[in-house]
Assembly symmetry: C2
Homo-oligomer: 168 residues x 2
Amino acid sequence: MSVSLYDVSIPPMIRMLENLSKILDKAVKQADAEKIPLSTLLEARLAPDMHPLPRQIQIASDAAKGGAARLAGIDPPGFPDTETTFPELQARIAKTIDFLKSVKPDQLAGAEDRTIVLKFPQGEMKFSGRDFLNGVALPNFYFHVTTAYGLLRHKGIQIGKRDYLGGA
Amino acid sequence: MSVSLYDVSIPPMIRMLENLSKILDKAVKQADAEKIPLSTLLEARLAPDMHPLPRQIQIASDAAKGGAARLAGIDPPGFPDTETTFPELQARIAKTIDFLKSVKPDQLAGAEDRTIVLKFPQGEMKFSGRDFLNGVALPNFYFHVTTAYGLLRHKGIQIGKRDYLGGA
């Protein structure tokens, strides 16, 4: 019994979103230098039925803010998913980070045993806070950050693991 | 102070590796049914300088066994990275799961404050166990599992988020 649920959820998500923001900056800079239309990056998909870059970033944001809010037992801010440009995506990331920073460690005290209910059209699923973090929030968050990274790599953007991990 | 470092590291990695194993089974099944050569999947890359599928799985394995071993203060088993076929990749995943299951919760007691040293050709980096898990082991592990998933999706394999999350 040794780390708080806060320590293994909010700060790592803030850090990864900061890394993602820097990755987007690098992508735009390289695209500008090489005259790659930004639409090439924004419309990139790994498969026809996978989401393009903006939606990957919106879902990463949703996983972060929704995960943090559920663990804290509060409502997440609603963001309307209207971002279509890099500055708008950066603003979405910044708003998400601001919200994560507004959630304080004592709001997650005991969250490991809080019951979290996810509602779907077909019904609902219940999790402990611990299982929700381990089995839903973090895997889903990392999935969309990694897929955003992969989309940019797929389109020739020169980024590496160091950008993803943030200097680690 | 409320969850053990074990709870937020070893069981989630075991679960994701089990999901990855089922994803590979689905990929082989679909490839067989549609006469897609398995080499198409095994040689898939998202970018010419990114690793193909087998290496993604080897690194996911390394992140899991190396992460668990470092947190436990023991040496990880050495796997020689010779896998080139789906059965070999499945065996690699199974061996990794077996090792993770052999690491017991009390071996990670106090691991959040254990100093972990990563050595690189250019020097070394030191982390607390907590920072290593949050900033290196888990993000790196999820990166390679997600990239393996993305490679298969990119090649037309019909898998979805439910396969990645494992029924959550």
